[in-house]
């Protein structure tokens, strides 16, 4: 089975629920009286992704660029299988790791070790692999004895280190990464860098969303420019970045 990532005509609407759209009573009332319409339901639908098609093969390093709200994070979440599109298909062959938000669903009430165990079990690791995972993460994040204390009492720096160490400890074939991963204090960045490089080199396919041109130049070979959920341009990194940076408001 060759590793690949394939998207075809992906189409995703993001419903925003607020006010009465959350209420069963109001919904039933409107449908009974036949006054149901888009405005009376107060359901705002954001057209988050439109006609997204692309294929990535081993060795591809794709950067997603675009303004805030262009659909970069939504696309990453769709590729990770968290949001299911209303149209089209997404196919991923190969083990996947999605580094989307800093805490990756960590529970602050649980201890560092418990959070690590949960993550390991999510990846279906056996108990000995989970022990190695915990050792690796604790050593990298410099947690010391804190690993057996609740994450809630960690300093913010420790939380970031734990999140990063945990997320980067498991090597996937397909790596999806949001730009927060490249943020952090300078000191940590330096020691994180080799670990991250190691992870990215090990992955056969990388999809990275970012605002920072320097990050694209360093990591990506191909760039996709998104705007309002559509692909504006998709091609070699330099070409697309030149067009993107030349466009107004970018």
């Amino acid at each position: 089975m060759t590793v690949e990532l394939f998207c075809e005509n992906v189409h995703l609407d993001f419903p925003l629920y607020h006010g009465t759209a959350r209420s069963l009573k109001k919904t039933v009332f409107h449908s009974v009286t036949g006054r149901m319409s888009a405005d009376s339901r107060q359901r705002v639908v954001v057209q988050a992704l439109r006609d997204i098609s692309f294929r990535l093969q081993p060795g591809d390093r794709l950067g997603l660029v675009g303004r805030n709200g262009a659909g970069k994070s939504t696309l990453l979440r769709t590729l990770a299988g968290i949001y299911e599109p209303q149209g089209g298909r997404v196919r991923i062959h190969g083990s996947l790791n999605a580094l989307l938000d800093p805490n990756l669903g960590m529970n602050p009430e649980l201890t560092g070790r418990e959070n690590i165990t949960l993550r390991g079990q999510y990846h279906k690791l056996n108990p000995s692999a989970i022990r190695r995972l915990a050792d690796d993460v604790a050593a990298f994040a410099d947690l010391g004895d804190f690993i057996d204390l609740p994450v809630r009492i960690f300093s913010s720096g420790m939380v970031v280190r734990l999140g990063f160490a945990l997320a980067t400890a498991i090597r996937p074939q397909v790596l999806l990464m949001d730009e927060w991963f490249l943020a952090g204090d300078a000191n940590f960045l330096e020691k994180a860098r080799s670990r991250l490089e190691d992870l990215v080199r090990g992955a056969e396919i990388l999809v990275l969303s970012t605002h920072v041109p320097a990050v694209i130049h360093e990591w990506c070979t191909r760039v996709m420019w998104l705007d309002q959920g559509r692909i504006i341009a998709d091609g070699p990194a330099d070409e697309v970045m030149d067009a993107y940076l030349a466009a107004p408001n970018n």
Binding site: H93, L125, A129, R171
Partner: protein, 291 residues
């Protein structure tokens, strides 16, 4: 506090198993049912995670307390003890007959009641996890069921203590409670998926469910005995809360529930499982947007 460069070879060893992820936007009942079925199977392969999550839920709730989860046992025991004396006097019943009945009823009802209220937040309480990793949704349902089973396991101690104290033995009839309890577990999972999805979409459902459960507590022969209804006892068969409770409680008290009770409980269960399947397979792809 110098940092050593990561040991590459140690790092390389932790890899995830190969997998295939294929998401196709699928209209049509069959395609959606297949996806829902796959969700169920994937959750089954992750039982280890489900168990850890449930166990940590319990541990977290009682972290730092001396008795730990046995606080549950203690509070249940106190409640049953005080209610037992009060209602035995009110209903002019022999405490030796009434107390085992009440202990069983309260413990089983608490299980059902907590299960229902937990089901309402099945998905919304795991919002952070749902939004950050792809996980079969059935796993969250399984977590609710397992967590409540763990609570029940602590409370069973009270029933055993009362039965030992009053030397009550349901005999072999008691074994009938086992298949009935298995049915409970399936219904519980169906309920968690159904209520979890509906409560994620419509935020005014949990209070409605809360008042329904409160009403059900009083009409389902939990603190009073069914015989006390006299000629109207047959009406209880139309109360699914009662019949579901009775198929487990009856055998444990050494009584075989009537056929009507079984028919009612089974009909209700299958209806609920079917409804849950229909709704869950329809909305599975939407839950991540709702939480």
């Amino acid at each position: 506090m110098g940092y050593r460069p990561p040991n590459m070879s140690a790092h390389l060893q932790i890899t995830t198993p190969l997998n295939r992820l294929e998401i196709v936007a699928s209209p049509g009942f069959v395609a959606r049912s297949v996806l829902a079925g796959r969700d169920l199977c994937e959750a089954a392969t992750m039982w280890r995670l489900c168990w850890t999550l449930s166990w940590l839920d319990i541990k977290l709730r009682y972290r730092g307390s001396v008795l730990g989860p046995f606080w549950l046992t203690l509070s249940t025991a106190i409640m049953i003890g005080s209610m037992g004396f009060l209602y035995a006097a009110l209903f002019h019943m022999d405490l030796h007959v009434y107390l085992p009945f009440l202990a069983l009823s309260i413990v089983l009802w608490n299980f059902l009641n907590l299960l229902v209220s937990d089901s309402c937040v099945c998905f919304t309480s795991s919002e952070a996890m749902i939004r950050s990793v792809r996980m079969p949704f059935t796993l969250y349902g399984g977590r609710v069921v397992l967590r409540n089973l763990l609570v029940l396991a602590h409370n069973i101690v009270v029933i055993i203590a009362v039965d030992l104290l009053l030397q009550i033995n349901p005999g072999r009839v008691g074994l009938l409670a086992i298949p009935a309890f298995m049915l409970w577990l399936v219904v519980a999972l169906a309920l968690a998926m159904l209520l979890g999805a509906m409560c994620a979409r419509f935020r005014d459902i949990p209070p409605i469910i809360g008042s329904v459960m409160q009403m059900a507590f009083f009409v389902s022969a939990i603190i009073w005995r069914p015989e006390q209804l006299k000629e109207q006892e047959y009406l209880l068969v139309f109360n699914p809360f009662y019949t579901l409770l009775e198929i487990v409680r009856g055998p444990l008290m050494g009584e075989v529930p009537s056929l009507y009770v079984y028919v009612s409980a089974l009909t209700f269960s299958f209806g609920l499982i079917l409804l849950s399947w229909l709704i869950f397979s329809r909305v599975r792809g939407r839950i991540a947007f709702w939480v």
